[in-house]
């Protein structure tokens, strides 16, 4: 079936819930109402003319800091060898939609991944846990407005380009374990450069290692 025919079949069945159809895109897609995704997916999987046996890929999307989130389903039928892309848009405040993991088992882990990296919640998923990041990770890394947490289990997370700036090791009283408590020594370095000393100059009061 061509994408147009698939769209017509979907339109007959779901009418108002089909929001957009774009055949000019590189991958022709149908945009649907997120609340209806389970019904649409069941229809696509179980109708014999369509018979989308395989969910090739399920991707969470973030369209920008002030834009929506979304999910893209790339479907393929091995029997009929046709494909279609289903898209849904979700609000940034409450990105929730029904899960399709009982229809395609592929969706099980892919939905967990979308939840882990983009914070999209799939209602009805039986095991919606983080999958790639640790369970106690903060934030959703693939969101465009993501800011990485400063410490994870006492380890400094953001990559610091100039490690020369930091030198002392102290005990963090709040966490009770050792962390690098950093202290800038850039001013001293600049000063020493001005005075014509070499860069190995150690400022007073610093400890070795």
């Amino acid at each position: 079936m061509t994408p147009e025919q698939i769209h017509i079949k979907l339109h007959e069945k779901f009418d108002d819930h089909i929001l957009e159809f774009n055949v000019e895109a590189l991958d022709p897609y149908v945009k649907i109402d997120p609340a209806k995704i389970y019904e649409v997916a069941t229809f696509l999987r179980q109708t014999s003319e369509l018979d989308f046996t395989a969910l090739m890929c399920l991707s969470g999307m973030d369209y920008g800091v002030d834009e929506n989130l979304g999910v893209v389903y790339n479907l393929h039928s091995i029997q009929h060898n046709h494909r279609i892309t289903i898209r849904v848009d979700l609000s940034r405040e409450n990105p929730t939609l029904p899960s399709v993991e009982t229809i395609w088992r592929t969706a099980d882990w892919h939905e967990r991944e979308a939840f882990d990296l983009l914070g999209i919640r799939f209602e009805g998923h039986r095991d919606l846990r983080r999958i790639l990041c640790p369970d106690d990770w903060e934030g959703y890394p693939l969101r465009k407005d993501y800011i990485v947490q400063e410490f994870y289990k006492g380890i400094r997370v953001p990559y610091q380009e100039d490690w020369m700036k930091y030198e002392t090791l102290e005990k963090n009283p709040e966490r009770g374990n050792f962390v690098f408590q950093f202290e800038s020594k850039v001013p001293e370095l600049i000063e020493s450069a001005k005075n014509g000393n070499n860069s190995d100059h150690k400022p007073e009061g610093s400890t070795d290692g």
Binding site: C57, T106, L142
Partner: protein
């Protein structure tokens, strides 16, 4: 018993004959109730929870499996992944289209050429680049197939190691070394090649390289026959593998298994044949599938045999490439490389291609700049390993090791 139920009764029916519980697809009206009942029953008795990995040698990397065991019988397997997570996708959003390629190498570090190829195909489709020089296309197919042989040699070698055969492992690595040498000569690297670029290749083919490839094929043919004799027809090997880890075809499709795992279950689906990309439609080769000759269809042995036969098919393709490339040897491999990669804003494409482990798909979205807006890598191992709970239930813990080996996972590919 919990184990027997999962092994034998995949479906439960009510009095009227309606299916209420389908283990395989985890669906059915009373799935949750049935599962809850089974869970309650299962934790009675002498069961224990054992942690396998992430530093277990037979998990092929940093995979952690949480097992519920009754003696030596596996009741439940819960994989925990992410120990090698580098967030490739976030990296890719911050660097140019070309600069992503070295990161693609590191997704599946045993088949870097195929990963580069998949990414290059996706970007080329995004910017509408086609009609590459013939030499480029032939060289891409050639390097991908050589890499497929190298990757399968690791797969079957370590699989032999998993069932207790040490010699095949050494033999496989001996032959793989020759391919590594060829690639080193070609690209300068032994494992992470960064060779296939968008629109072309990174380096010109050295003089005399094709002759060396031909020499390798002549050397490799008899060695593979020898290897096959050593391992594939070994009675102990067959006894260990022919009835283990049965993956039903419908289950394999539903879980999104691809590559030799899917074909081992008897489904003839290979993107090189069914959705030909590059020049794959010009070559004559077969798609081997599992038939369950020595045991059950979809067993561990079937997956292994598919890999063995795919090596022969790859050799066949390479011989055809060496013939086909003859008239185009003087072409410039960098001629079609675009100066600037800047796809239209909002363009999005999903392209998949066949790597040794299955379908690698890239979903790339552009916002009109020269940095990708979103790159999603759908890795084959990620889907392949998710089926492990289903096929290991009711088996022995020693079989679990064999099953992991037969899925041929690379943790870099799972965690990305």
């Amino acid at each position: 018993m919990f184990g027997n139920l999962f092994k034998k009764k995949r479906y439960l029916f009510d009095d009227e004959g309606t299916m209420v519980f389908d283990m395989a697809h985890s669906t059915g009206k009373y799935y949750d109730e049935a599962m809850k009942k089974l869970e309650v029953e299962s934790y009675q008795g002498d069961e224990m929870v054992v942690n396998m990995g992430p530093q277990h040698p037979s998990t092929h990397g940093v995979l952690r499996l949480e097992l519920v065991l009754d003696g030596e019988v596996v009741k439940k397997t819960t994989p925990h992944i992410g120990y090698l997570h580098r967030n490739f996708e976030k990296h890719a959003e911050n660097i140019g289209y070309n600069e992503v390629i070295p990161f693609c190498d590191r997704i599946d570090y045993l088949a870097s050429m195929n990963q580069d190829m998949a990414y290059a195909l996706a970007v080329e489709k995004l910017i509408g680049l086609s009609d590459l020089p013939e030499k480029v296309e032939y060289m891409r197919v050639l390097t991908c197939e050589l890499n497929r042989i190298a990757s399968h040699l690791v797969a079957i070698g370590t699989f032999g190691l998993d069932v207790g055969a040490f010699t095949p492992f050494l033999w496989a690595f001996r032959d793989r070394e020759k391919i590594m040498d060829l690639f080193e000569w070609l690209s300068g690297a032994r494992l992470l090649y960064n060779y296939i670029w968008v629109g072309g290749l990174a380096r010109e083919v050295p003089d005399g390289w094709f002759e060396k490839v031909r020499e390798f094929l002549d050397y490799f043919g008899p060695k593979m026959v020898e290897f096959d004799k050593l391992l594939s027809t070994n009675h102990i090997f067959i006894a260990r593998t022919a009835e283990v880890g049965i993956l039903a075809p419908d289950l394999a499709v539903s879980y999104g298994c691809t590559g030799p795992v899917l074909r081992g279950s008897g489904i003839k689906w290979d993107l090189r044949k069914d959705e030909p990309y590059s020049y794959y439609d010009r070559f004559d080769f077969d798609v081997p599938v599992g038939a369950g000759e020595l045991g059950q269809l979809g067993s561990v042995l079937d997956r292994y045999l598919v890999r063995i036969r795919e090596i022969d098919e790859s050799v066949k393709i390479i011989r055809q490439v060496l013939e086909g490339i003859e008239p185009f040897k003087d072409q410039d491999v960098k001629a079609a490389i675009p100066k600037k990669i800047r796809p239209a804003a909002g363009a999005e494409v999903y392209v998949r291609s066949e790597t040794p482990r299955g379908e690698l798909g890239f979903l790339i979205r552009s916002d009109g700049s020269d940095v990708p807006f979103r790159v999603k890598a759908r890795s084959p191992c990620f889907s392949n390993i998710s089926v492990i709970d289903n096929i290991s239930r009711g088996g022995m813990i020693a079989d679990l090791v064999v099953i992991i080996g037969s899925l041929d996972i690379v943790l870099g590919c799972i965690d990305r």
